[in-house]
């Protein structure tokens, strides 16, 4: 906060490239960005990095403590915990990114149209959003998996749908403000086609807000995925996920607490980094907070 205040007052008002990238140098963004980048790389390269197959059982080494052979030990079926954590990143990654993409794909056009045209259409959309909000995300996920059967895809879909209302509100609110700006009014009176106004004038100005929102939606979806998998409504065995690793480890909470602590540490590190990154990006990109 204070860092941006200083940046805003000392650097020339002309937005040069170095100023635009200055926020990257801030330590919080650097640290959290590194964790997020590492998470993305690990998830993408899981088969190359993981020392073992995540589902390979070794019954001679059940619940083995960390050793040179198994850096983080093994679980109750003798599976390598490190490999399962690495592969578990994939489920989190998929759920986080895809759910956010689904939500953005629906929410942005809807929010744009509602905020720009207002009137009856806007009122109808607001009503629909209320209905969606009446279904807490987990209730929705529970309902979807009751109908279609539990799977990562259905969990991701449910998390994506659950994120739509919040994003619509953000997109709509920003559009309402932008609509009253002189440059949009100028475009309207110069008979620019509406779709061009929305695409060329409104959408680019929404981008920074949407980027920030997306950075906050991803960790929410990651937490949601781990929760659904923990409950048995997400990733199905034997595919590893941080959430399902936790539910499998529950009986061993006293004898092998590391099976509980390691996945929690993974979830925590990734979601905290996304949240910090989102906070820092908002400080850096939101012009209202720079005043």
């Amino acid at each position: 906060m204070s860092a941006t205040d200083i940046a805003g007052s000392t650097i020339a008002p002309e937005p040069t490239r170095s100023r635009r990238l200055a926020f990257l140098r801030r330590p919080v963004i650097l640290a959290s960005g590194t964790v997020v980048a590492a998470f993305i790389v690990v998830a993408a390269l899981a088969p190359a990095i993981a020392p073992y197959s995540p589902s390979a059982t070794d019954f001679t080494a059940v619940l083995a403590p960390p050793s040179g052979r198994h850096l983080l030990g093994t679980d109750d079926l003798g599976r390598d915990v490190l490999s399962r954590l690495i592969y578990g990143a994939r489920a989190s990654q998929e759920a986080g990114v895809l759910a956010t993409a689904i939500a953005l794909a629906v929410a942005v056009p809807v929010g744009l149209v509602a905020g720009f045209f207002r009137g009856r259409l806007d009122a109808t959309i607001a009503r629909l959003i209320d209905v969606m909000l009446a279904f807490p995300s987990l209730v929705l996920a529970v309902a979807l998996s009751a109908i279609f059967g539990p799977s990562l895809t259905n969990a991701t879909l449910a998390l994506g749908i659950a994120a739509i209302p919040g994003l619509v509100r953000v997109a709509r609110g920003e559009t309402l403000v932008l609509r009253e700006q002189t440059f949009v009014k100028a475009a309207i009176v110069s008979a620019t086609p509406t779709h061009t106004i929305l695409r060329r004038h409104v959408l680019p100005n929404l981008a920074s807000t949407l980027i920030v929102q997306a950075t906050v939606t991803i960790p929410t979806a990651i937490i949601g995925e781990s929760m659904l998998s923990f409950l048995g409504l997400g990733v199905q065995a034997p595919t590893p996920s941080w959430g399902s690793m936790l539910s499998a480890a529950e009986p061993y909470i006293a004898s092998a607490p590391r099976l509980i602590l390691l996945p929690i540490a993974a979830i925590f590190a990734v979601t905290l980094s996304y949240n910090l990154l989102g906070d820092a990006l908002r400080d850096a990109l939101d012009p209202r907070l720079r005043l």
């Binding site: 204070s2 009503r127 629909l128 209320d130 209905v131 909000l133 009446a134 279904f135 807490p136 995300s137 987990l138 209730v139 529970v142 309902a143 998996s145 009751a146 109908i147 960790p219 937490i223 781990s226 929760m227 923990f230 409950l231 048995g232 409504l233 959430g243 936790l246 529950e250 909470i253 006293a254 607490p257 509980i260 602590l261 996945p263 929690i264 979830i267 925590f268 979601t271 905290l272 949240n275 910090l276 906070d279």
Partner: protein, 319 residues
């Protein structure tokens, strides 16, 4: 008279929302692939039991007729019977709901008792160590899922220190102290997210009101710091507290499902989850309908509280 009109408008929209929600639940269960009677009775059901199910649930009738019959019964408090144990769904929900309400009530209480002072202190001593610690703890709480925090608490308080029971439930009427002992950890876990959001939102709302003109006026006319903070700044930030609690209700319902699963509390959330795994469709329908109704009702209550706190909302006549 403006208020009556406002409440009427609000009620109408609540009914519309509920209607659409019920339609969605009904469509969801009846859009199941295959014959609904088989879905209800299971694939191995005998022809006689299929006919009995069709009879009991009125499945032979057209869908709109079925829907209105279901709603008609639901409004009268009749949610048909569970496929699992044949008990009336409404009665089961009536038994399980109070447990979850106690849990949620305690969670909100924790969030308010811990979150409001934390937000006020963080805002009044902005940039201090207290502010950083508070903000840090809040961000941490937001980054740990409920169930993970629950497992950590069990590990610490039950496995490691043996000070609180790991899981289970005791009725309040049976053993009040035991009930609270069993509820303490789950309520803390469920309240953690709300606490964090409350602290963060209240902090920024307080910062905004502390920087405004009326605060400067209040200070200038010689009012004490405490009076300014509590009677002026906090009062004007209260609307934030109400908004946060209102917005967080959905997450509270989801959180209750997970928390009850972790701590094995036989509440409404556990009923919801168990019914899904048992594919007990009448229970699923009832549970989802009741949670949607509860959500809409509480949201309306939040709106009413709004108008009590801030008369401007009432005056503008907009929701």
């Amino acid at each position: 008279m403006a208020l009556a009109g406002w409440i009427l408008r609000r009620l109408t929209s609540a009914v519309i929302v509920l209607f659409l929600a019920s339609l969605l639940v009904f469509a969801g269960v009846h859009a199941l692939p295959g014959n609904a009677a088989y879905a209800l009775g299971g694939v191995e059901a005998s022809p006689e039991s299929i006919r009995a199910i069709e009879q009991e649930y009125g499945l032979g009738k057209p869908l709109p007729v079925q829907y209105f019959r279901w709603i008609e019964n639901a409004v009268q408090g009749n949610l048909s019977r569970s496929l699992e144990n044949r008990l009336p769904v409404a009665r089961t929900i009536g038994e399980r709901l109070p447990i979850t309400l106690e849990l949620a009530g305690l969670a909100v209480l924790f969030a308010l008792v811990l979150g409001v002072p934390a937000g006020v202190v963080a805002a009044t001593s902005r940039g201090s160590a207290v502010d950083y610690v508070g903000t840090g703890v809040a961000l941490t709480a937001l980054s740990i899922p409920h169930f993970a925090l629950g497992l950590l608490f069990i590990l610490l308080f039950a496995v490691h220190w043996h000070v609180l029971p790991a899981s289970g439930y005791v009725a309040f009427s049976h053993d009040p102290l035991g009930n609270l002992q069993h509820m303490l950890l789950p309520a803390l876990v469920l309240g953690s997210g709300l606490w964090a959001v409350m602290m963060r939102q209240l902090r920024s709302a307080m910062l905004e009101s502390l920087g405004s003109d009326y605060i400067r006026t209040a200070r200038a006319k010689g009012l004490g710091v405490l009076s300014v903070v509590f009677k002026h700044a906090l009062r004007n930030s209260l609307i934030t507290v109400v908004t946060v609690v209102g917005l967080y209700l959905g997450a509270l319902i989801s959180g209750a499902v997970v928390t009850e699963q972790v701590f094995l509390i036989p509440g409404f959330g556990k009923l919801m989850l168990d019914s899904v795994f048992a594919r007990d469709y009448p229970v699923i329908e009832g549970v989802v309908l009741v949670s949607a109704a509860g959500y809409v009702a509480v949201n309306m209550a939040v709106d009413v509280v709004y108008t009590l706190i801030d008369p401007r909302i009432r005056a503008s006549g907009k929701t």
